[in-house]
């Protein structure tokens, strides 16, 4: 697809609102379709995973980053390249575990939650859980099994939004999931 020249910041701004608004409509619809927050969280994670396994191709094509040699490099690429490219923010990387297999992404502001308030009856909803699925799916395609989960959320009154990333193992074989 040919890339259109930039038509100015207002167009880009509406474009970014489009994603935020669409995501909000999706979460609202899922809350109607599923009876409890846990199921919505799982669904968001699954959808995020499906997006992530395809988004990684777009990312690799556009970012020109080479293979990461360790989890620290991966963290840098996620925060400084991927988040910047797709969401226009650069999360901070903190709280490395001594073994170097866990770190936190700190998002001062989360574009997904612009204009969003969680109603009282959805206290277990992880509104932005799609992001965790995206991270998990994308990294799986580059041979890394990881766990991503929200440990702080501004929607729930925390000062920042924090995603904890944990490296589980390297995926050695190239067979698609489900095949032996």
């Amino acid at each position: 697809m040919s890339r259109q020249t930039n038509r100015g910041t207002e167009s880009k701004k509406m474009s970014s609102e489009l994603f935020t608004l669409t995501y909000g409509a999706l979460v609202t619809q899922l809350c109607k379709d599923y009876e409890n927050d846990e199921d919505v969280n799982k669904q968001l994670d699954k959808m995020g995973y499906n997006i992530g396994v395809r988004l990684i191709e777009d990312f690799l094509a556009r970012s020109n980053v080479g293979r990461c040699h360790d989890f620290r490099e991966t963290a840098d690429v996620i925060a400084k390249v991927a988040f910047k490219m797709y969401l226009g923010i650069t999360p901070g990387i903190t709280n490395w575990s001594p073994a170097g297999d866990e770190f936190s992404l700190i998002l001062e502001n989360n574009p997904l939650v612009d204009f969003v308030e969680l109603p009282d009856n959805h206290s277990s909803l992880i509104y932005s859980n799609l992001l965790c699925g995206v991270l998990r799916g994308a990294l799986e395609m580059v041979q890394m099994a990881v766990e991503a989960k929200f440990v702080q959320d501004t929607l729930k009154g925390d000062g920042v939004t924090e995603i904890r990333m944990r490296f589980i193992r390297r995926i050695e074989d190239n067979l698609p999931a489900g095949e032996e």
């Binding site: 609102e17 994603f19 669409t22 777009d58 490219m85 797709y86």
Partner: protein
Amino acid sequence: MADAVLFEFLHTEMVAELWAQDPDPDPGPGVSAGPGGGGGGGWGGQKMSLSVLEGMGFRVGQAMAERLPRETLAFREELDVLKFLCKDLWVAVFQKQMDSLRTNHQGTYVLQDNSFPLLIRMSSGLQYLEEAPKFLAFTCGILRGALSTLGIKSLVTASVAALPACKFQVVIQRC
């Protein structure tokens, strides 16, 4: 500022998800009833999903138009509103303008996009013609929602003759 490609990916996944939820004609207890629900035979489920997608698009289109600066909303004529949709809204959502706008000057408009971005990734021609409506429902909603905010009640439908070209038909509803 979210990259435009995120919307495409999210939209594709939403179509897949909302379709998977409704394999049979009978709506389950958790599915909200839309205007298309209650249809006979095996098409009840399909209509349900299309109307859910369209409803989501409606809310998004409504909200997007609400955020426009005041001066943008001062349209002199109905045709100006449609031109705005074809140019500014389409660029904001799809990074391109609508390819053509026709009207009978009696409240019906046909907006044609010769390479609709949400259909581009599917192969061109007639192969996925049956699948195409699922990928148009949300966008029909965006148009109807934006029109609603701009004070115009409408009915928006879409048709595909051959991918990736499609037409959106806007029929103004007069009270």
